[in-house]
Symmetry: C2
Subunit: 186 residues, 2 copies
């Protein structure tokens, strides 16, 4: 540490920075704007540097996917641990993660996942596996029709946010949150 003035190398930080930039670009200017040039430049790295960390574009997107789902898994696990009631535990964690007021920085990053998923058919298979895995892991506690419905509703609101549809007023939003949580326990 503390050799900042020596311009020490921080490969892991650079890698992370590249992923973050890719995510931000995709979110702000659409997935079409995620080019090797744009990403590397915005990350303050040369294109060669980028291609050192990610040998091709697909592996960059793949890395982004892994990064995001790993983070997501951690957050979900965290929320689930602090929930005393087993029934609907996963669903409530899901709600807590995705059903948040706009602008919460955390929520922004998951949006990228959806965008990447839709624009890259290749990633869909990985997503399918993610869903399948979590469904199987929580099959005892979160497979009631109501739980399923709750998660779908969250996804819907999620999508609406992503597409910039008119925002719900805070009141309705709170009411809906309560209802969703209630349904997760029924």
């Amino acid at each position: 540490m503390s050799k900042a003035h020596h311009r020490k190398k921080h490969p892991e930080a650079v890698r992370q920075q590249l992923l973050e930039v890719a995510a931000r670009l995709s979110l702000e200017k659409g997935p079409g704007s995620v080019t090797l040039d744009a990403v590397s430049q915005a990350a303050g790295v040369s294109k060669g540097g980028l291609l050192h960390h990610f040998p091709n574009k697909l592996s960059l997107l793949d890395g982004l996917f892994s990064d995001l789902t790993e983070k997501l898994d951690r957050v979900l696990a965290e929320k689930m641990q602090s929930d005393p009631e087993p029934k609907g535990r996963f669903t409530r964690a899901y709600v807590a993660v995705f059903f948040v007021p706009e602008g919460m920085d955390d929520s922004e990053q998951w949006k990228v996942l959806t965008i990447a998923l839709i624009s890259e058919p290749h990633l869909r298979e990985r997503w399918r596996q993610w869903v399948e895995r979590h469904l199987a892991e929580n099959i005892g506690t979160d497979s009631s029709p109501d739980s399923v419905l709750v998660r779908y509703a969250v996804d819907g609101l999620w999508l609406a946010d992503l597409l910039g549809a008119p925002t719900l007023d805070a009141e309705t939003r709170t009411a809906m949150l309560g209802r969703l949580l209630a349904l997760s326990r029924s």
Copy 2:
């Protein structure tokens, strides 16, 4: 009319064909594969021909958007007319259109809308207006929290389908459909 043997030109048909091809390509190979070359070739038209109907790529996507939303409006209006109960009428039409078993040809085409929407920031504004308009038109009958929730749930299932998530079994699906319709009336 009836000059079919003369190989008459059908500009309107060509235009439609171009839109259909663009939609199919976007759905099957991702929005990135929607290029002027690919679309025109797959539609059996030269690139110049395409650019005659749509002076640039944006106007092609814009045309696709208009085409799809107009069709959607027609279908929704149709469903609403054959629904005797005013309360939740729009929501039920929405459910009927989007909550259908996979493979129904009609549902495929709406998927393209979502894909285009996500990948083209420019179209999002038009979408916002579409949503706003329909929300305003049905504000008396379809603005209860439950109606909103139903529509979001449909959107969620919709997104799951789009991302190729594991399909619901027919049983659960039917049950959910019933529940959604019930909620639209509450």
